[in-house]
């Protein structure tokens, strides 16, 4: 090929790329006016409106109604086969957070030189600083109808503060709705070396810390008023943050692993008159309904449906545990709805948006009326977090967060065709099932796995791989644990194992790359951070 032609080709492709960029821009940014014509619109302010037109302008819903005029500058979408729903919202999640990986430095902790972070006391941590948005992530959510979510760090005792975001723009400054809304309170000690290292210690620590924060707040405001005759309190960055939450000026979210945590939370909320939410991560709110009702509690409900280690089901062995996880726990949301306890759904405990959506479907199959499920993903989270004037229903003036589906949302193989988030259109092309790279390795068999670090140990894993699906058994000094639902993609394996040590559940997420008979990767343990590991195949 002559040189010139090659150059020509090069410029030609550059131009193509440029055009492609322009095209993308034009699709998302330049057209700010849309009209969805003849659609069925589930407004949630009244019954659905048939053959209705919805006009979106500059990120907001401008108008809706059957037969309203279509603005001349609007791009029209034929909605004849589509139903429009308010965009669904995750009441509490973590998927869009990328917190810094924590490595436990034992020698530092042993020397006594530990920080509040080692103790799990990080009220200053703000989710907004760690959100990790991207179009690829957005698409996963949009396909299932999710367009906004509430994220909060969940490690330790004072876990950090939350943020509410639209899944609309990779620039978090544009995506943000509200930041530092809630403060997370967890019951899991973050480290067994430092105070508080036990559940009862956490409970006592919380009482003292909440009291200190109220005291700090009062002492400081009194000093600022009187100036004379009073010693000013020492400044404390932690207490400064806590003061807002301990005095109920802002709400806290209790991250409850089981029904007992819920009772503890209600007790603390009553004792310190907190403005609070119960995140029912153990899915046992149904065991505490009278107490929840009495306290006018608001619940963020998991759909992971895993029996906590403290439950009788788990203590009675695997058969009983599995039965409960199939028959008892999925009824939790339905029981809350029946009792009239306000709740939103939380994706905490489910691994990805798909598992979250499947969990919600399970809850519906277990008796939760569909409209209640939709409410728990739209109106309720909006009301909970002070966003109900901007989100939650389809009304003129509100943020244009809507999804257009062929048929219904919250069904298996939901066909969401468009998501409008902050008025931006995201078109969702149909994908063939079984996406993802095909596995190029087979890990079936026994592997010896060495976890590095001071707490390092050697474990054995017996893998069983069928095409891309991975299951197996992990043998630890605390017993053997089965797992399913792992994945092999190319040379990468990933799987999650829930182990139970002394009645405590610990979730371990493994991900590794395989090279022949060796693999190398990392294991993430929710509260304690990440460790590297290597593994080799045991011959035979």
């Amino acid at each position: 090929m002559p040189r010139r032609t090659r150059f020509g080709l090069f410029f030609f492709s550059l131009a193509l790329i440029f055009l492609a960029c322009l095209f993308l821009r034009s699709e998302q940014d330049l057209h700010r006016v849309w009209a969805i014509k003849d659609a069925r619109i589930v407004t949630l302010t009244g019954p659905p409106i048939e053959k209705c037109t919805l006009v979106i302008r500059d990120g907001l819903i401008e108008a809706l109604g059957a037969g309203i005029p279509i603005p001349k500058d609007a791009e029209v979408i034929d909605g004849a086969k589509l139903t429009v729903y308010p965009g669904l919202m995750d009441g509490l999640g973590q998927a869009l957070l990328k917190l810094p990986e924590e490595k436990m430095d034992m020698s530092r902790i042993s020397s006594g030189d530990f920080t509040d972070k080692d103790r799990g006391i990080t009220p200053g941590l703000t989710a907004f600083d760690y959100v990790n948005l991207g179009k690829a992530v957005f698409e996963k959510y949009h396909r299932l109808g999710f367009v906004a979510g509430h994220v909060m760090p969940d490690r330790g005792v004072f876990t950090g503060r939350s943020a509410f975001l639209c899944f609309s723009d990779p620039d978090k400054n544009k995506a943000l709705l509200l930041k530092d809304i809630c403060l997370g309170i967890g019951f899991s000690p973050s480290n067994f070396m430092v105070y508080p290292n036990s559940l009862m210690g956490v409970q006592s620590y919380l009482k003292q810390a909440l009291h200190d924060a109220v005291y700090f707040d009062q002492a400081r405001s009194r000093w600022l008023k009187e100036w004379q005759g009073l010693t000013r309190p020492d400044h404390s960055p932690n207490l400064e943050v806590l003061a807002d939450y301990a005095t109920a000026r802002k709400p806290v979210i209790f991250l409850c692993r089981n029904q007992h945590d819920i009772r503890r939370s209600l007790g603390l909320a009553a004792e310190f008159k907190l403005n609070s939410f119960i995140a029912d991560l153990g899915g046992e709110a149904f065991e505490v309904i009278p107490e929840l009702k009495k306290a006018n509690a608001r619940v963020l409900c998991t759909v992971a449906f895993k029996a906590p280690g403290s439950s009788l089901y788990a203590q009675r062995g695997r058969t009983e545990r599995e039965r409960a996880e199939k028959e008892v726990y999925p009824k939790n949301p339905a029981r809350l709805a029946e009792a009239g306890i306000p709740f939103a759904f939380s994706s905490l405990g489910t691994d990805d948006p798909k598992a979250f959506a499947e969990g919600i479907q399970k809850a519906i199959e277990a008796g939760l009326p569909k409209e209640k499920a939709i409410e728990a993903l739209t109106k309720t989270p909006a009301v909970f977090f002070g966003l109900d004037r901007a989100l939650g229903t389809i009304e003129p003036g509100k943020i244009a967060n809507v999804v257009l589906a062929e048929g219904e949302v919250l069904v298996k193989e939901a066909k969401v065709r468009y998501a409008f988030v902050d008025g931006k259109r995201f078109e969702l092309k149909e994908v063939k099932p079984g996406e993802g790279e095909k596995p190029t390795v087979n890990v079936t068999g026994k592997w010896e796995l060495a976890v590095e670090g001071q707490m390092g140990m050697t474990l054995t894993i017996d893998f069983s791989q069928e095409e891309a699906a991975l299951s197996g058994k992990l043998v630890t000094p605390f017993g053997a644990f089965d797992f399913t639902g792992g994945m092999v993609s190319g040379k990468d394996v990933s799987f999650e194992i829930s182990i139970s040590v002394g009645g405590q559940d610990i979730d371990l997420f493994f991900s590794a790359t395989v090279e022949g008979d060796k693999m190398r990767g990392s294991v993430v343990q929710g509260g304690a951070g990440t460790a590297e590991f290597t593994a080799k195949r045991i011959p035979g």
Binding site: R119, V194, Y195, S198, L199, M200, S204, Q208, H211, Y215
Partner: protein, 450 residues
């Protein structure tokens, strides 16, 4: 009779019958007949009867008449003893029982972490245990607060709590608080000697006294400000300190001290410390060398809650013998046999038998070590620990004498309610197994067809 009268009569009858039905549901007397009753408070009654009304024992004797409406349980020669009381346990608690992040943790409270769904509660019942003292571990010179529970399996955390039982403070001396055996895990912590352990307690007492004084001074100033009607500015209250409040509760006698200790010298020195501060030291936990200082234990009224044949698991736990419990009891020390363990808890009666066979205790003494003695240590002897009228109907029924090596606990009652019935339990389990089997069978058939 006019129809209206008939209606009236019928409705009256319905009302009365209905009411009596309600009454009987709540207060239906239960007569246990024809059993050997180990009363503990007096002689054992062979072929005796026992009448329960509501939650209480009302009559014990021979050939009691059957009150109207009573449920009769024929014991058919079985043995009844007061429900076993385990004065040192760590069950029914959620999470770690040691808060070892700090040296002194008087603020933490087992009450906050009661897990009424701990299956060990059911297992305790299968061994005739009806009350326990469940407590903080032994990592701290002054650890957390403990609590007395009744084994009301299936009830809520609040309903497990033994109403009226004094709250306790767990202390520990020796190797555990000085972290002699923790193999370098975690940060080095003061103290590393037994002297240091004692000093850390004394130190905390002084801090708590200061704290109490500060509050008293504040209250004085606050009152003066109030009386001055606006002339004086009300003072800012001192900051509340949950830990020091816990220590102050020990000093005021509100909390009974349960002190983990093995060595006799150490026990003596802690008795002196408690006398200096007027602290209510109730019992040494384990107290394996207690038999060496029986005079002092009796003089200061300190009990021991111990094992029969469990020792030598660490250096400070060597100097004891199978006779220790019996010897101490002979010298007048209040002795209880405890489990400290969910498994041992199910056969404490075997431990009592061992103290007879190997230690030389009398049978009566051995039974007391499981019943009235721990009840006294826990401050609940007004309600439990013996079989006598007025006490709670907390009972354990055995097929043979409870000290017989082949004995099996067949039924356990708490507050007059049967919480464990071995025959019924086994029957239900069999039924469940059969149902499970049935469920699986059709699946198999289908597989066969395929």
């Amino acid at each position: 009779m006019k129809p209206t009268n008939i209606v009236k009569a019928i409705s009256a009858a319905v009302l009365i019958l209905g009411l009596s039905g309600l009454l009987s549901a709540a207060e239906k007397p239960i007569l246990l007949r024809n059993g050997h009753i180990i009363t503990v408070s007096g002689e054992t009654i062979p072929g005796g009867d026992l009448l329960i009304q509501g939650t209480k024992i009302v009559k014990v004797g021979k050939s009691l008449s059957v009150p109207p409406g009573a449920a009769v349980i024929d014991l058919n020669g079985r043995w009844v003893m007061p429900g076993i009381i385990d004065s040192h346990s760590h069950i029914a608690l959620e999470g770690d029982v040691n808060e070892m992040g700090d040296l002194i943790t008087a603020e933490v409270d087992c009450k906050d972490i009661i897990n009424p769904q701990d299956i060990n509660i059911l297992y305790a019942l299968t061994g005739g245990v009806t009350s326990i003292h469940t407590m903080h571990g032994s990592a701290n010179p002054i650890g957390g607060k403990g609590i007395v529970l009744k084994m009301r399996w299936g009830k809520s955390a609040a309903d497990l709590i033994f109403a009226g039982a004094p709250l306790t403070s767990k202390w520990a001396l020796g190797e555990n608080p000085k972290q002699s055996n923790s193999m370098g895990m975690g940060r080095a912590r003061y103290p590393k000697t037994r002297m240091g352990v004692e000093e850390s307690i004394r130190d905390e007492f002084e801090k708590a006294k200061d704290y109490t004084r500060t509050w008293a001074e504040y209250e004085k100033k606050a009152k003066a400000a109030k009386d001055s009607k606006g002339k004086l500015t009300p003072p800012l209250p001192p900051k509340k300190d949950y830990r020091l409040e816990g220590v102050a509760d020990i000093l005021s006698g509100k909390l009974w001290v349960r002190c983990h200790a093995y060595q006799s010298e150490e026990m003596l020195s802690i008795i002196r410390l408690c006398r200096d501060y007027g602290v209510k030291l109730v019992c040494f936990e384990h107290g394996l060398e207690g038999y060496r200082i029986t005079n002092e234990l009796v003089k200061y009224g300190v009990a021991i809650s111990t094992f029969v044949d469990f020792w030598a698991y660490k250096w400070e736990a060597y100097n004891t013998m199978p006779q220790a419990a019996a010897l101490s009891a002979n010298r007048g020390v209040l002795v209880a046999l405890n489990s400290d363990d969910a498994e041992r808890m199910r056969h404490l009666f075997n431990d009592a038998a061992k103290t007879v066979r190997f230690g030389g205790a009398t049978q009566d003494e051995a039974i007391r070590m499981l019943t009235i003695n721990p009840a006294k240590i826990m401050g609940v002897d007004r309600w439990v620990g013996t079989i006598e009228p007025g006490k709670d109907a907390d009972l354990a029924v055995f097929n043979r004498h409870p000290l017989d090596p082949f004995t099996v606990c067949e039924m356990t009652m708490v507050d007059g309610t049967v919480y464990f019935d071995r025959a019924k339990y086994l029957e239900e389990r069999k039924k469940a197994e059969e149902e499970e089997k049935k469920k699986k069978e059709p699946e198999k058939k289908n597989e066969g067809e395929v």
